[in-house]
């Protein structure tokens, strides 16, 4: 049992290691000091006010949000279609196709980023928002495919066959039977894709159109000088969005599931 206690303490320490730095950012966001670090001089919301007055950051926020939502939409749509084909039909070379769909995870992101840029260069196309969107969609696609596929395997084919035999056409069957059953995975996949896009920096630095920033690249640029207190406030807002929204969605889903 002594060994077990050691394991317990060790685990707690690892969890502290994972969360203490994040907690410090959340804490420092409310520091009234004009420097981004310690010591804490007092409680203040002024850095949040400063944040909302900063036009560059607000513009980056808008770009990131739109990009994230569109990425979630496209990646989820492509992912559902591909998963349906792979799970519901006999496709020759299924293993190969799956590996191909997963390939963006296996190739280092830096290589993906440079490759797409070189391809664009060969096509003489400038970098644009559309390129960024396509790129993010590709990076998010594997995760959506894996999540949706896992769920689809668990939905019995009999439901769809019953709908078909009762006279529904394939589209009706999909929208009225398969999709509602698939909804949890669709939400999870979309949320996943949004977070991946909202958080991406490695490839985005390469792909962003000239003069355009997303929140992570904006922070990256600001870090070059020093850690300004504004970045802490921005970090706070980002964490609330990317952690708070999924947690709330999950919590609400549980709440409603219990009510029913």
């Amino acid at each position: 049992m002594r060994a077990w206690n050691l394991i317990k303490i060790y685990t707690v320490l690892v969890y502290i290691f994972m969360f203490a730095p994040v907690a410090v950012v959340l804490l420092l966001a409310f520091n009234s000091s004009q420097f981004g670090g310690f010591p804490i001089e007092g409680f203040s919301l002024r850095w949040f006010a400063k944040l909302f007055e900063n036009e560059a950051i607000m513009r980056a926020f808008e770009t990131s949000l739109i990009l994230g939502v569109l990425t979630a939409f496209f990646a989820t749509t492509l992912g559902i279609l591909a998963s349906l084909a792979l799970v519901r039909y006999k496709v020759p070379g299924k293993e190969w196709i799956t590996t191909l769909l997963i390939s963006p995870v296996l190739v280092p992101e830096t290589v993906l980023a440079v490759g797409l840029l070189i391809f664009l260069r060969w096509l003489s196309m400038p970098r644009s928002f559309a390129v960024l969107l396509l790129g993010h969609t590709m990076i998010a696609l594997p995760f959506v495919v894996l999540v949706v596929q896992a769920r689809l395997v668990g939905i019995r084919k009999e439901y769809e066959e019953a709908a078909r035999s009762l006279g529904a056409n394939p589209l009706q069957t999909f929208f009225q039977v398969t999709l509602p059953l698939l909804m949890p995975a669709v939400f999870a996949g979309a949320l996943f894709a949004f977070t991946i896009s909202f958080d991406n920096i490695t490839a985005t630095i390469f792909w962003r159109p000239a003069g355009s920033e997303t929140v992570p690249t904006q922070i990256f640029g600001m870090l070059r000088n020093s850690v300004s207190p504004e970045i802490n406030a921005l970090g706070f807002v980002m964490i609330v969005i990317t952690v708070g929204v999924p947690l709330m969605a999950g919590g609400l889903a549980r709440y409603f599931a219990r009510k029913r």
Partner: protein
């Protein structure tokens, strides 16, 4: 396999958008990387179509590049080994605990994936920097007058990497530990094993697939990074990815950027192939979803 079944085009309609996207956004670009690596860089952002091996010759003869490859390999190995040691025990705890709120521990493990990578990396400046928490405590305790410099060196980069990649390791090991029959360890104990022996000869070997999948992910992700060294490292703490970043973003030397990118892809490709020979990629898919 019945040969008589006619070709069914329907799945291909469904697959075509995703496959087209992969073809144009992954396959074609990688081919172009290879083609561009033979071009000549004339000036800033200007290159000439050619078929010559100048870039490859530079890569193979210039010790600057060899040094970067070695440094990257070393860093990836250090981060992977440390992540394995740090991550195995928590995974074991989560898998074996009787704690009623186990779901909370798992949720906390997934939570970091949702916290922005750049914020998590930056947060170490608040911990180890001159105005960071550690120096703040040391000065407050009167142990030192001047802040101790801990940032912008290799150690800070290692810490930053482990912080970001550790959850991958823990999750992979956990998935694999969770799949082991709970009766095996007690069985080994009744047959006379000490607890440590039972762990070493039963549980550890059975959890190796998860440990291997986690290690592969951490290794490949570390070796392909360039952002963490820029934020947490000093001028000498660059990785191979930083050379690519410099070539493409700063020097606009596309042919060399292409050569370096293809090299990185090739070297990490070897690692993935070796892994999949022994383990297969299924374990990886399982962990990713």
């Amino acid at each position: 396999m019945a040969k008589a079944t006619a070709f069914d085009p329907r799945p291909w309609y469904l697959l075509s958008p995703a496959l087209l996207a992969i073809a144009f956004l992954v396959i074609a670009p990688i081919c172009f990387i290879l083609v561009y690596s033979f071009y000549i860089n004339v000036d800033l952002g200007v290159d000439e179509v050619a078929f010559q091996f100048g870039n490859w010759q530079d890569l193979l003869t210039d010790s600057y590049y060899h040094n970067a490859i070695w440094k990257t390999f070393r860093m990836a190995v250090i981060v992977t080994v440390l992540a394995a040691f740090l991550g195995y025990i928590p995974a074991y705890f989560i898998a074996h605990t009787n704690f009623r709120r186990k779901w909370l521990l798992l949720l906390l493990l997934i939570l970091p994936f949702w916290v922005s990578f750049i914020i998590r990396t930056m947060s170490w400046i608040h911990i180890m920097g001159n105005q960071g928490a550690i120096n703040g405590v040391l000065i407050w305790l009167g142990l030192t007058d001047e802040p101790i410099s801990m940032m912008y060196n290799e150690f800070a980069v290692i810490v930053g990497f482990i912080h970001v990649f550790l959850p991958y390791m823990i999750l992979n090991v956990y998935v694999s530990l969770e799949g082991i029959d709970r009766n095996l360890e007690p069985a080994a104990r009744t047959l006379g094993c000490t607890p440590w022996q039972a762990f070493r000869e039963v549980t550890l070997p059975l959890s190796l697939p998860g440990l291997a999948a986690g290690s592969l992910l951490v290794f490949v992700l570390t070796a392909g990074s360039y952002v963490t060294p820029i934020i947490l490292g000093g001028p000498n703490d660059f990785l191979f990815g930083n050379l690519i970043y410099d070539a493409v973003v700063s020097e606009l030397n596309w042919p060399m950027g292409a050569t370096l990118s293809f090299t990185l892809l090739f070297l990490l490709g070897i690692v993935v192939v070796i892994y999949s020979r022994f383990m297969g990629l299924n374990q990886l898919y399982k962990a990713l979803s």
